[in-house]
């Protein structure tokens, strides 16, 4: 309270020097859209962790199969259905890597000792004695490949369709919108299933089936954005200056759509992974020797009670992949979507 009583003498004031050059100075370094976005993503711990996890999984998907000394397709029926065993960890009893499994009556057995097997299968083996470790990473590789491919195709078709539809408007837009309306009325999974029965199951046919209706949501979002953008000043200016349609779309519109495109693509990757796994689960997946996480889960599911690890490992991997992609997508959306800016 005492402060209020204190008188401030005039000579304590000093005129401020108005320097036109400093008033225009920007105290923080100038950031472009991407730097700005990166700053925001960085604040999102979940997204960063997910990014690291995905990076790790992608690396494992690429080098994992060769880390194990067993080839992912080498069968050895004498070593069928072995539980996981890892060298350094086998003596730590609370870890599931000691090479034992529990029978239905509660007895714990060690098939490695029973069958006198020296080798270490880190994630165990499947019904044909194939090394699960290399199979899981090989499967991750293929699942990711299908997902990236499908997401990329969705992106190309969706962006082109949406941009053309939104940009030209009028009759073109009307027709293209009707096409989208019809397509989005199709239950995609049912069509995907029918497509797979007709095409032979394989990486390409699964990807094609996934993209048949997959691009529609992308096209919708892009169209909405383009509709918004095309009447803004910078586009009008460019048009007035005589820029061609292609130039306007590629030079002016697309860069402004980048955020939306990335967010949507990031969401369509886990979607594609899920659909592929789903198809495998109802028996319409890839053919041997190709394996994806979906086919591994499908095989493991049937043996779930006897050999739970055969399902658990690929199930954990697919869940981690899905969670990580979703978190990254969330993080990116928060960072790139101007609506959510804080």
């Amino acid at each position: 309270m005492a402060q209020f009583d204190e008188k401030i003498s005039k000579d304590q004031f000093e005129p401020a020097i108005i320097d036109a050059s400093t008033s225009e100075r920007i105290s923080k370094p100038s950031l472009n859209y991407w730097q700005d976005a990166w700053l925001r993503v960085r604040k999102n711990k979940g997204a960063i962790v997910s990014l690291v996890v995905i990076g790790f999984l992608i690396i494992m998907a690429l080098i994992g199969p060769s880390l194990s000394k067993f080839d992912s397709n080498k069968q050895n029926t004498k070593h069928a259905n072995l539980p996981p065993r890892i060298e350094a960890l086998e003596n730590i009893s609370w870890l599931p890597f000691d090479g034992t499994r529990t029978l239905k009556n509660g007895n714990v057995v060690n098939p490695y000792e029973q069958k006198q097997i020296e080798e270490y299968y880190w994630f165990g083996t499947d019904a044909l004695g194939r090394d699960q470790f290399s199979r899981v990473w090989k499967g991750t590789q293929i699942s990711l490949y299908i997902a990236f491919l499908a997401a990329f195709i969705d992106m190309v078709i969706g962006v082109t369709f949406g941009a053309v539809s939104g940009y030209f408007g009028g009759r073109v837009d009307n027709i293209m919108q009707r096409i989208i309306e019809v397509l989005s009325g199709i239950p995609n999974l049912v069509i995907v299933i029918l497509m797979i029965i007709v095409l032979k199951p394989g990486i390409i046919s699964i990807t094609v089936a996934l993209t048949i209706t997959g691009w529609v949501s992308m096209a919708r979002v892009i169209r909405a954005q383009v509709l918004k953008l095309k009447n803004q000043e910078f586009v009008l200016a460019s048009r007035t200056l005589g820029a061609s349609h292609a130039k306007i779309i590629f030079k002016h519109l697309l860069p402004n759509l980048a955020g939306v495109i990335i967010i949507n693509t990031m969401f369509s990757i886990p979607n594609a992974i899920f659909f592929e796994a789903f198809l495998s689960f109802i028996g319409l997946g890839l053919q041997d020797p190709l394996a994806s996480l979906g086919t591994l889960i499908d095989e493991g599911f049937r043996a779930m009670i006897a050999f739970p690890y055969q399902m658990l490992v690929p199930a954990i991997v697919i869940s981690v992949v899905m969670i990580a992609f979703n978190m990254i997508a969330d993080g990116l959306r928060d960072a790139l979507d101007p609506k959510m800016r804080d």
Partner: protein, 561 residues
């Protein structure tokens, strides 16, 4: 706001009801557990003779002339009855037939005397009911599959009647009186009485069928019974649960113990085993997954039996490489069948080194199994396979081969085919196998058009006679579809079909001889003979399975305490 309150209330009620339901569910389980404990008391009959059985599919049809799948056959077998019935030892014993029929000297005319039996509407089962059902089964407008399939070449004029060349009255079946049935055959059929246990040959009550018209066999209300049980609840083909109850009007009702059988469908083997463990079922469907079966190794509740169903690789001789006998030999010897049945299938299946399955038919005189005389005919031998392979490749003038391999898309076939592919590629250097797993109907279609190199297929018989296996491989035969042709084989099988028909022993031996020819030509590469595995409650006694036609008979079963 009001709306959301209301829905919250709804959810709360729902959650509450779930918990209440969960509690009552728990009680039931405890009861089951105490029942298990009292098991030690010995095999006293339980008070309620009621069991729950799981099937892997719905009932596609309860009309005995239209049924064409095991679930349908099994149900019809339990609620209806024909002239004969399969007993616990797989023998056909007289049922509606009052004792064995009289057979004419040349073995082509059978006369059955019918016992006094009633339909569930009170009508007597007469010889006319048989004539009606058989004529219906063969008639074109019925479009039955099994009628023409099983009668052709057996019942006189069946082929011509089905083709519409003759009137249905010309079919070789005739009611001499209300309780006397005369059947005329095309030729002597040694297994004819066993055929009479097949549901397609069961009688139908003409009055009832015609009265119901299109509604006949639509659901339990539109069915009529003359067997050990009655179907009391079945809402039609889409129903996933149904109920059989004891038929007190059945002529042998005093020997039927079970009073009620509840059916449920469960298509996933693991889910079925889970339900069995949880006490929700007394019998599971056939378990096909090795991982599920292996959990019950040594468990007395796991009932395993060998089926006469065999699987093999068909080698399409339209393919130039496979037309080479050495190549075929190499392929048929190049995969480890013991590893296949012991390490992969793990369900009691046998390594098949033969074309006619084991435990299927016996020599009519000596009573020896078909396999005794012929034994193993192509056992796995990697060394010999390699020798044949090198020789074959040299003859073809190539050093590597690429063959496509068509397999099924079920979990078991996918695993087995992946194994076979690996074995073939490893044991035959220079061989590349392109595996294609396709749905059943696609596989059939491509088999039909011979659009394959190697095909993994199987055959399950409908009647106990080696001919069902032997006539598959006749030159140009409807089921050959791999361009195998051997004059010697044809001659042996044709003689068994023709002049040896009345001489069972010689006929049998001719077919054994034919099997040898098949393997001298390496026409076929058998893989395994399938075993069935089901979980059966240890309280259920007299569980009876069959190896052809219907799958189970509950007539002989009873529930102990």
């Amino acid at each position: 706001m009001k709306k959301s309150k209301f829905s919250l209330l709804l959810v709360l009620t729902l959650v509450l009801s779930m918990f209440l339901a969960a509690c009552s569910g728990g009680d039931k389980k405890d009861e089951a557990a105490t029942d298990n404990d009292s098991d030690a008391k010995g095999s006293e009959l339980a008070e309620t003779q009621e069991i729950t059985v799981l099937e892997s599919a719905e009932i596609p049809s309860m009309d005995s002339v239209l049924a064409e799948d095991t679930v349908g056959f099994t149900m019809i077998n339990n609620v209806n009855e024909g002239l004969f019935r399969l007993d616990q030892e797989q023998n056909a014993v007289p049922a509606l037939s009052d004792g064995e029929p009289t057979v004419s000297e040349d073995g082509t005319v059978y006369t059955f005397k019918l016992r006094d039996a009633k339909w569930s509407n009170g009508d007597t089962v007469t010889a006319h009911d048989f004539v009606y059902a058989w004529q219906r089964a063969i008639g074109q407008e019925t479009a039955s599959f099994y009628g023409p399939y099983i009668m052709s070449g057996v019942i006189k004029n069946a082929v011509q009647v089905n083709a519409g060349e003759l009137d249905v009255n010309q079919l070789g079946v005739e009611a001499l009186s209300d309780n006397e049935l005369k059947v005329t055959l095309e030729k002597p059929v040694p297994y004819f009485t066993a055929l009479m246990a097949f549901p397609t040959f069961y009688p139908q009550n003409q009055k009832f069928v015609e009265e119901k018209g299109a509604d006949y066999a639509k659901n339990a209300e539109n069915l009529i019974f003359n067997g050990p049980f009655k179907m009391t609840k079945w809402d039609g083909v889409a129903a996933t649960e149904w109920t059989l109850e004891k038929n007190e009007e059945y002529w042998d009702a005093e020997n039927v113990t079970l009073t009620k059988i509840n059916y449920n469908t469960s298509k996933d083997p693991q889910a079925a085993a889970n339900a069995f463990e949880a006490g929700q079922a007394d019998v599971t469907p056939k378990l096909s997954t090795p991982a599920v079966i292996s959990q019950y190794e040594g468990d007395p509740r796991l009932v395993t039996w060998l089926e006469p169903t065999e699987f093999w690789l068909k080698l399409n001789q339209e393919n130039e490489a496979l037309a080479n006998k050495n190549i075929r030999f190499a392929i048929s010897l190049a995969f480890d069948k013991d590893a296949l049945v012991n390490d992969i299938l793990q369900n009691g299946s046998l390594a098949a080194n033969y074309a006619v399955p084991a435990g299927f038919v016996k020599h009519p005189e000596t009573g020896e199994d078909f396999r005794e005389a012929n034994g193993d005919m192509n056992t796995f031998d990697a060394e010999k396979a390699k020798e044949y392979w090198t020789k074959g490749l040299a003859e073809l003038g190539v050093d590597k081969l690429e063959l496509n391999f068509l397999g099924g898309d079920t979990e078991t076939s996918k695993t087995v085919d992946a194994f076979l592919k690996d074995q073939l590629q490893n044991n035959l250097p220079g061989l590349t196998i392109n595996l294609e797993s396709v749905p059943f109907s696609v596989r059939l279609d491509r088999e039909d058009t011979q659009d394959y190199d190697i095909l993994h297929a199987g055959w399950g018989p409908d009647y106990p006679d080696p001919m069902t296996y032997s006539d598959l491989w006749l030159t140009g035969g409807g089921h050959n579809k791999m361009s195998y042709s051997s004059a010697k084989y044809d001659e042996l099988v044709k003689s068994a079909q023709g002049e040896l028909a009345a001489k069972p022993a010689e006929r049998f031996e001719a077919l054994q001889e034919a099997e040898k020819v098949l393997f001298e030509d390496a026409a076929l590469a058998p893989t395994y003979q399938r075993a069935s595995n089901v979980l059966v409650s240890d309280k259920l006694e007299g569980f009876t399975y069959h190896i052809f036609g219907p799958e189970y008979s509950w007539k002989y079963a009873k529930l102990n305490k």
